[in-house]
């Protein structure tokens, strides 16, 4: 007689291994006093230019470092190194996104207690990075005015897994008749209450409010950590 199949419950996340590594990373960042920020966007949206600005501006007051993910070349890492921040390239080969173990490995040899802000630039891709927790404190999704106002509607998952939206290349907004109201409404539709910063890395417009927000966020986390330690 044929045996009947039975169901053995497992009930765990498919990406449990990544989550475990991400949790460990989160703990390492906390212990080292690192505020980790990741960036996701399409290729060509201005992530690297934006990050270069941020590293240069923050580098005068804080100890900053960056990890950059790309399929090939170390062009972005070299470009970011112009900011004089320590930068490492993660070359993924054919993998279209970063995973927690790649970030963990890339940090080898860095003393996290000597870093205030760590920026992790993901591979240019608005789809795949959404699934992978990298242990960051904050995830930024960046898209430029040249990409169209309906980008958020087309890529709801990545907006849903991010914390803050950056609309970049605002200096080009008039040239492309960028519909700001529509863009903001679309972001609100896919992620109600999402904080949005509109800026230009080229001209510096809008950078200061974002940098203030970032430093405040880090301060809040530091205070929380100190308060928890006192309990």
């Amino acid at each position: 007689m044929a045996s009947l199949p039975r169901l053995v419950e497992v009930r765990q996340k498919v990406l449990k291994q990544n989550d475990v590594t991400a949790r460990a990373l989160r703990q390492r960042f906390k212990e080292g006093g690192v505020y980790a920020v990741s960036l996701v966007s399409s290729p060509g949206s201005g992530k690297t230019a934006f990050l270069e600005r941020v590293l240069t501006a923050l580098g005068t007051r804080f100890r900053v470092a960056a990890l950059v993910g790309d399929l090939a070349t170390d062009n972005d890492a070299r470009r970011l190194a112009r900011s004089e921040a320590p930068v490492r390239q993660i070359t993924t080969g054919t993998l279209c996104h970063l995973e927690a173990d790649m970030v963990s490995a890339a940090l080898d040899g860095w003393d996290l207690s000597q870093i205030d802000f760590l920026f992790i630039e993901n591979v240019g891709n608005l789809v795949c990075p959404a699934s992978y927790d990298l242990g960051e404190n904050l995830r930024l999704v960046l898209y430029s005015v040249t990409e169209g106002e309906d980008k958020p509607l087309k890529y709801p998952t990545i907006f849903n897994t991010a914390d803050v939206a950056i609309i970049s290349k605002m200096d080009l907004a008039p040239a492309v008749d960028f519909d700001r109201a529509a863009a903001l409404a679309n972001i609100e539709s896919v992620r109600p209450g999402m904080k949005v910063f509109e800026l230009s890395a080229k001209t510096g417009q809008g950078m200061e409010p974002f940098l203030s927000f970032l430093t405040q966020r880090r301060q809040d986390v530091q205070l929380q950590t100190v308060a928890a330690a006192g309990d």
């Binding site: 199949p5 896919v190 109600p192």
Partner: protein, 123 residues
């Protein structure tokens, strides 16, 4: 596309569980996939076929249950269906929802096993 990466993680998890529990032949892997999980079920199936070929999982079926988008409506004070994947608001009253409680799953739910090592057959 990262469905192949996801499938490889899935097979690793299934293999680990099967060894841990000394399971017999696994005839199906049961998954839950939500609309906001960031993966396409059809692509998972294709990736699964490719990844399982020539392995112990070759004859194993991938059974995918798609879950619904559910959120806590602050106005209705209930868990409600969300209007759509790019309209995160209550399908009932239209209030924006900040608290998503269902629809982001990417879970290995269960392994379907034939204990005696003989695949189930009819007749």
């Amino acid at each position: 596309m990262h469905e192949m990466s996801i499938v490889l993680s899935l097979l690793e998890a299934a293999e680990e569980k099967a060894c841990e529990l000394s399971l017999g032949e696994v005839v199906a892997i049961h998954l839950q996939v939500g609309p906001l999980a960031g993966v396409v079920p059809e692509c998972l199936q294709s990736a699964f076929e490719m990844a399982s070929a020539g392995t112990r999982w070759e004859k194993c079926r991938l059974a995918i249950e798609t879950t619904s988008l559910i959120g806590r409506c602050p106005k209705c004070c209930l868990d409600r269906a969300i209007a759509s994947i790019n309209q995160i608001c209550c399908a009932d009253c239209g209030t924006p929802i900040h608290d998503i409680v269902g629809g982001q799953e990417l879970n290995l739910v269960a392994l379907e096993v034939c204990d005696d090592g003989v695949p189930s057959t009819t007749g």
